[in-house]
Amino acid sequence: MPRKLISANELAEFVYCAKAWELKYVRGAESSAEAQQMQIEGNAWRRTGPATRAK
């Protein structure tokens, strides 16, 4: 049976805190509303980000 690949994001979560990784990836815990809002703002920064987009 092929092993389930670990995403780079999941590796980062594990290094940040292995217990938080367990809660999110094993127990399926949802992040707080505040954390989700920060994620939305982060995604906005990624969309508008620095000058990496031009060829």
């Binding site: 590796l11 290094v15 217990k19 938080a20 809660l23 969309r47």
Partner: protein
Amino acid sequence: MNLQVMAAALAVLALVLVLVAARSRKRTGIPAGEVFYQDLPGQPFFGETLRSDALGISGKPDCLVRATDGTVPVELKNSSRPPARGSVYANHMVQALAYCALVEDQMKVRVPYALVIYAGQQVRKVEFTEERRQWLLRTIREVELARARLTANRNHDHRGRCAGCGVRSQCDQALL
């Protein structure tokens, strides 16, 4: 306006744009080169998820730049307070290293380093050294073991991490 004048004007405009782009890249630390992969649906060069069965990992860097010394993954982070002395946070580093290994394995190209760009265009370089590659492989193994155990314990003593953690209210090992 005749065609020759228009052509000259366009040539000058193109030169100005090239100079502005080069200056911008120099200021931000982004290497000169072609962006050929982006994690932005609807944009040119929208890329598929990179996968490596050999390494057991997958991921989508924000973009890939084809530079003179190899292919460089670039990751954007919204934190406006990166760590001091030009370093990156450990979680951002392992993510950047994962992209280096994925690009190297899947595209069979040299990957000398990755860039992590924090808000405020603070660019940090993550060299893809052998020591860091080994750390990445150890971390992958740790996650695989934790998956098999279905449990893991807090692996830090930083109250700040707990303060910024989105699942702290559900954690019985939180420091706060």
